[in-house]
């Protein structure tokens, strides 16, 4: 069913919380080499969708699979292929960056030299050297976000799911993270949720917009921009997510 280049496959994904339907029958897939910008107003169901794909939230109906592994029936196997930065980048504040990345590396099954090499690589990619030995709770918001990012790419996953990766970063740090995403894009499938529209034109090869839990747009950023005579993404976004 799954073609080898189809890294994330979402079919009819639905999540209901009692009476509220947070995600309503969403279907799309992400291929290797794609950077998918997952857009929508706050509360549209972006995070809920990501939480279901990473196996944190139980799915009400529909299916999601990562690298061919169903996220519910082969939960552990699918999670091995995913790097996930949850919304707000929750971290263990009492640990140092070093101890925290060490913990993640060990959970992911790395030992000894391999573990050290992977931590070093992540630290270097995110520029975490200055805070390597500091407790995470003492770090600035930008560094915390980057520690969360480092944790997600530590095992060099084929699929990266990043919930607002540039939130709280200054313009330089945003640039750095976007460059990092672009550099990794070729051999991975990456999903980033954001409500910063220029991010889409800056890094994404494809944009998916959801509003009220429903998919309202799926196409290239260029196709998105061409929908408005003004060619402003803001206008298209507003039009797509408010008309009902």
């Amino acid at each position: 069913m799954n073609r080898p280049d189809e890294m994330i496959s979402i079919q009819g994904l639905t999540k209901r919380f009692d009476a509220l339907t947070a995600v309503d029958n969403i279907t799309f897939s992400v291929k290797r080499g794609e950077v998918l910008g997952f857009l929508g107003p706050n509360g549209a169901g972006k995070s809920t969708t990501m939480k279901m794909v990473t196996g944190y939230l139980p799915i009400t109906s529909g299916h999601a699979s990562v690298c061919g592994y169903d996220v519910e029936n082969h939960a552990l196997e699918s999670r091995r292929h995913v790097g996930y930065l949850p919304e707000g980048a929750p971290l263990y504040g009492d640990m140092t960056t070093e101890a925290f990345l060490g913990f993640i590396a060990e959970v992911r099954g790395f030992k000894g030299v391999d573990k050290k090499r992977r931590i070093d690589l992540s630290v270097q990619r995110l520029g975490l050297e200055p805070v390597f030995n500091r407790p995470i709770e003492t770090l600035s918001k930008g560094f915390k976000r980057r520690v969360g990012f480092a944790q997600a790419i530590l095992h060099d996953p084929e699929v990266l799911i990043l919930d607002e990766p540039t939130d709280g970063l200054d313009p330089n740090q945003k640039f750095q993270v976007r460059e990092l995403i672009k550099n990794m894009a070729a051999e991975k499938a990456i999903v980033i949720s954001t409500h910063i529209l220029e991010e889409v034109t800056a890094v994404c090869t494809r944009a998916v917009i959801i509003a009220n839990g429903r998919l309202v747009f799926d196409g290239t950023p260029e196709a998105l921009a061409s929908r408005s005579p003004s060619r402003h993404l803001d206008d298209v976004f507003r039009e797509l997510t408010t008309k009902h």
């Binding site: 139980p58 640990m95 101890a99």
Partner: protein
């Protein structure tokens, strides 16, 4: 198994990287010492045993163990790190057991630091060290029972204070069911099997047997099944409250 070990290492590290461990150990040693000498009349009894030390353990644990267990899950849920933890490729049972074993080892460390009492009683007289060893084991096993209840109830809430109070109340019920007062309430009118059940549910009934130096299979089974049941429910609660 590898996962359990990694979780234990992280959790034990978390105890000692915050003041919690040191505060707990100091208070535990201070209180158990004070109770032994001033309330338990260690010297006046003129007996070479540590009964005046161990007899207070069920009551000391009543409020000290909930203080250790309340953070186990409630803190993770409050800070959102539970999302990070449960989207790693670790089975839930491994995390539950790892957290429990880490807390239990921590209590064991606190118990080991009471060794000056053991030296004192050996210096003053000739106690039965076999009984003392059995009492230490009994105390540790009973602490495991308290901890399993505490870990389970910690998963119920995001609020550590609520987790503390719930645990203290439930443990209190488990304690009181073995006290004379409660027993005499049932005596006379309730059938024998009810009386036996209530008595057998109590920590006190089983602990008192072990403290006398008798390690009976029934008492071991009691504590083992108590821990097993509460950790099983704990894992179920963690699974059910995912994402809430």
């Amino acid at each position: 198994m590898r996962y359990v070990w990694v979780i234990i290492k992280r959790e034990l590290g978390a105890y000692f990287s915050t003041p919690l461990a040191y505060v707990f150990i100091c208070i535990f040693l201070g209180l158990s010492g004070a109770l032994t000498f001033f309330v338990g009349n260690f010297f006046e009894r003129g007996q070479a045993d540590l009964n005046s030390f161990f007899n207070f353990h069920p009551w000391l644990y009543l409020f000290l163990i909930p203080a250790v267990s309340m953070r186990l899950w409630a803190e993770e849920r409050k800070t959102g790190t539970v999302e990070l933890l449960l989207t790693l490729p670790t089975p839930i049972w491994a995390v539950v057991i790892g957290k429990f074993l880490a807390a239990w080892s921590f209590i064991a460390i606190a118990l080991i630091f009471t060794f000056p009492l053991w030296i004192t009683v050996n210096y003053l007289g000739e106690p039965d060290n076999g009984v003392i060893l059995a009492s230490y084991i009994g105390s540790l096993v009973m602490a495991g029972g308290y901890l399993a209840i505490g870990s389970c109830l910690s998963a119920v809430t995001k609020n550590q204070v609520i987790a503390f109070i719930l645990t203290a109340v439930v443990c209190f019920l488990f304690l009181m069911s073995g006290v004379e007062l409660v027993q005499s309430f049932f005596q006379g009118w309730a059938p024998d099997f009810v009386l036996d059940t209530v008595r057998n549910l109590s920590f006190l009934t089983h602990f008192n047997v072990i403290v006398r130096g008798v390690i009976d299979l029934r008492d071991v089974i009691y504590f083992a099944s108590l821990i097993g049941v509460f950790l099983y429910v704990n894992a179920a609660i963690v699974d059910l409250t995912r994402g809430s």
